[in-house]
C-alpha cells in the first residue's frame, strides 16, 4: 500500500491516523458500555479491529 499517495489534499498516512482515532473512540466507547452493561460487544470488536488494522498499516515505512 502506498501511504504517501495524496487523497483529498492529504496523504493516505494522514487519513489512516484519522481512521485510527475513530477506531480508538469506538474501542473506548464500546468497552465502556460492555463493561458497564454487557452490551455493544460489536462496537467494541469493531473498534479493536480498526485500531489494530490502522496501527499495523501506519507501521509500514515508505521504502
Amino acid at each position: 500500500m502506498n501511504l504517501e499517495r495524496v487523497v483529498w489534499r492529504h496523504s493516505l498516512r494522514f487519513w489512516f491516523l484519522v481512521l485510527n482515532l475513530i477506531g480508538n473512540a469506538l474501542l473506548l466507547h464500546g468497552s465502556l458500555l460492555y463493561v458497564q452493561f454487557g452490551t455493544r460487544a460489536g462496537e467494541l470488536l469493531l473498534g479493536a479491529t480498526l485500531t489494530i488494522w490502522c496501527v499495523l498499516v501506519l507501521a509500514i515505512p515508505d521504502k
Binding site: E4, R13, L28, V55
Partner: protein, 464 residues
C-alpha cells in the same frame, strides 16, 4: 589526524554550531574534538565505548531530570501505595513507548538538521507547530505545572529543615529556590561559561542523587524480590473501567510533547549531527530511559513495601513523604530520602523553564539569544510558580491547560510521526523501520485515548 582532516572536521563542527544559536557557546575546536572521539569510539571495545559515550551524554539526563518531577513522583508513590508492586510493568512499558518519539526527535536533530517547530509550521501549519506544540504543549505547561514543583520542593525543604530542628516554613524557604533555579536556567546556553555542559552536569548529579536517595531508602525498608519481579513482568490492572483509566493515564503521563521537544532542542544545543545519532540513542537509553525506570521502580518499591502493607492511603506527595519518613528511623536515612525527593522538583523546574523559553522563541520565530532580555523574561516566566507555596493548585488553570493538553497532544504526536515519514522533510533519512513506526503508532493510539477519555469524562460518559 592530518591537517586536512582536522580542518574538515572543524568546518563540519562550525556548520553544526550554526544550526542553532544555543550551540554557539561551543567552540568549533571543542566540537571537532567531540566528533573525532565519537568516530574513534565506533570501533572501540565495548567497555571503552560505553564509558566514552557516557562521558558525552547530556540531553538524555536533561530529559530525565525534567520528566521526573512532582507529577511523576506523586504517580509513582500512589502506584506503590495503592497497588503495591503489581503495576511496576507500566513504568518500563510507558517510557519504552515514549522512547520511539524521542528517537524521532533525535533523528530530526542529527540527520534532518532542522528545528522541529518551524518544520511543523512549514509542513503542517502554524496551528500544529507554534500553537499546539510550542505554546500549549510546552510553554504553557512549563508555567502552569511549575506551581506544583514549587509546592513540593518548598514542603520538602521545610521537612528537611525540621529534621535538624530548624524552622524554615515554605512561605520563607521559596526565597532560596528562586535564585538557584533561575541561575541554572539562565546558565543554559550562556556564551561565556560553557553553560550547557554545566547545567547538564547539574542534572546528572541530581539524577544520581535521586537514585542514591531512593536506593538507600529501599535498603532500609527492604524489598520482596519475588513480588518485585512478578510486578515487573506480569501485567496486572484493577478490573473494569478503573483498570483502563489507570493504564491510559499512567502510560501517557510519563512522556509528553515537552520531553520530545526538549530532547530535540537540547541535542541541537550540543550541535549534534549525523555522526552523533548513535550517541543520541545511547543517551536516550542510558541518560533518559534507564534513570527514569530505575528511579520510578525504586519509589514504587519503597511505598509498596511500607504504606501499602500498612494500608495507609495519603493522597498528596508531601503527605505521602511525611507518612513514610518515620518508618525510615535514623536521621540520615530520612535526610537521604528527602534529598532524593527534593532533587526531582528542582531539576524539573530548571528543565521546564529552559524548555518553555526555547518553545516561546520557536513558536514566535524569534532568535534565541540568551543574553537578551526577551530570553531572560521567557526563561523566568515559570518562576511565577513560587505562588504555589500559598496556592498549590491554581485549579482553573490546571483544568484549562490539562484540557488543552489532553485534547491536543495527539495532534503534535501525529505531526512528529508524519514528519519522520516525510520524504520532503527528511529525504533518505526518513523512517525505514517497521518496528519504529509500530512503536510510534502505539504511542499515538495511547495519546488519542487520553483525548477521547477526556472528552468522555467531560460529557459524563466515563465514570470518575
Amino acid at each position: 589526524m592530518t591537517e586536512t582532516a582536522d580542518s574538515a572536521q572543524r568546518r563540519e563542527a562550525a556548520d553544526l554550531i550554526r544550526r542553532y544559536p544555543l550551540a554557539e557557546s561551543l567552540s568549533p575546536e571543542e566540537l571537532a574534538k567531540e566528533l573525532a572521539s565519537v568516530e574513534q569510539l565506533q570501533d572501540a571495545a565495548l567497555p571503552q565505548k560505553f564509558l566514552g559515550y557516557l562521558r558525552l551524554t547530556g540531553p538524555g539526563f536533561m530529559g530525565s531530570g525534567l520528566t521526573i518531577g512532582a507529577g511523576t513522583m506523586t504517580s509513582a508513590m500512589l502506584m506503590g501505595t495503592n497497588f503495591g508492586f503489581r503495576t511496576l510493568w507500566i513504568v518500563w512499558l510507558s517510557i519504552g513507548l515514549g522512547m520511539f518519539m524521542i528517537a524521532a526527535a533525535a533523528r530530526f536533530t542529527c540527520r534532518g538538521g532542522f528545528r522541529v517547530i518551524p518544520a511543523q509550521n512549514r509542513h503542517h501549519g502554524l496551528l500544529v507547530g507554534s500553537l499546539l506544540t510550542g505554546l500549549v504543549g510546552v510553554a504553557l505547561v512549563a508555567i502552569v505545572f511549575n506551581f506544583a514543583q514549587y509546592s513540593l520542593a518548598c514542603h520538602l525543604i521545610e521537612s528537611l529543615a525540621a529534621l535538624s530542628g530548624v524552622r524554615l516554613p515554605r512561605q520563607i524557604n521559596w526565597i532560596l529556590v528562586v535564585p538557584l533555579t533561575s541561575w541554572l536556567t539562565l546558565l543554559y546556553g550562556s556564551r561565556s561559561k560553557r553553560g550547557v555542559a554545566r547545567v547538564e552536569l547539574f542534572m546528572k548529579v541530581c539524577v544520581l542523587l535521586m537514585f542514591v536517595g531512593f536506593g538507600f531508602t529501599l535498603i532500609i525498608v527492604g524489598i520482596s524480590w519475588e513480588e518485585f519481579f512478578k510486578g515487573l513482568v506480569v501485567p496486572w490492572l484493577p478490573r473494569g473501567l478503573e483498570g483502563i483509566t489507570i493504564f491510559i493515564a499512567y502510560s501517557t503521563a510519563a512522556i509528553g510533547v515537552m520531553d520530545w521537544v526538549m530532547f530535540h532542542y537540547t541535542s541541537h544545543s550540543r550541535a549534534w549531527g549525523p555522526k552523533q545519532e548513535t550517541l543520541a540513542r545511547f543517551d536516550m537509553a542510558f541518560g533518559f530511559f534507564l534513570p527514569f525506570v530505575a528511579i520510578n521502580l525504586l519509589i514504587i518499591a519503597v511505598f509498596a513495601g511500607t504504606l501499602h502493607k500498612l494500608q495507609l492511603r495519603p493522597e498528596s506527595a508531601p503527605e505521602l513523604a511525611s507518612a513514610l519518613a518515620p518508618a525510615l528511623g535514623a536521621y540520615w536515612s530520612q535526610v537521604f530520602f528527602y534529598l532524593g525527593l527534593l532533587a526531582a522538583p528542582i531539576t524539573t523546574m530548571v528543565g521546564m523553564s529552559i524548555a518553555g523559553a526555547i518553545a516561546i522563541h520557536e513558536a514566535f520565530g524569534w532568535t534565541p539569544d540568551t543574553a537578551s532580555w526577551r530570553w531572560k523574561f521567557a526563561a523566568l516566566l515559570p518562576q511565577i510558580g513560587f505562588l504555589g507555596v500559598w496556592y498549590p493548585r491554581p485549579l482553573w488553570l490546571i483544568i484549562l491547560i490539562g484540557a488543552f493538553l489532553s485534547l491536543t497532544q495527539n495532534f503534535a504526536a501525529w505531526s512528529f510521526y508524519l514528519l519522520l515519514n516525510d520524504r520532503a522533510a527528511l529525504g533518505e533519512d526518513r523512517c525505514r523501520s517497521f518496528g519504529w513506526n509500530l512503536g510510534l503508532a502505539l504511542n499515538i493510539t495511547l495519546v488519542n485515548c487520553v483525548a477521547i477519555l477526556y472528552l468522555m469524562s467531560q460529557l459524563h460518559m466515563w465514570p470518575e
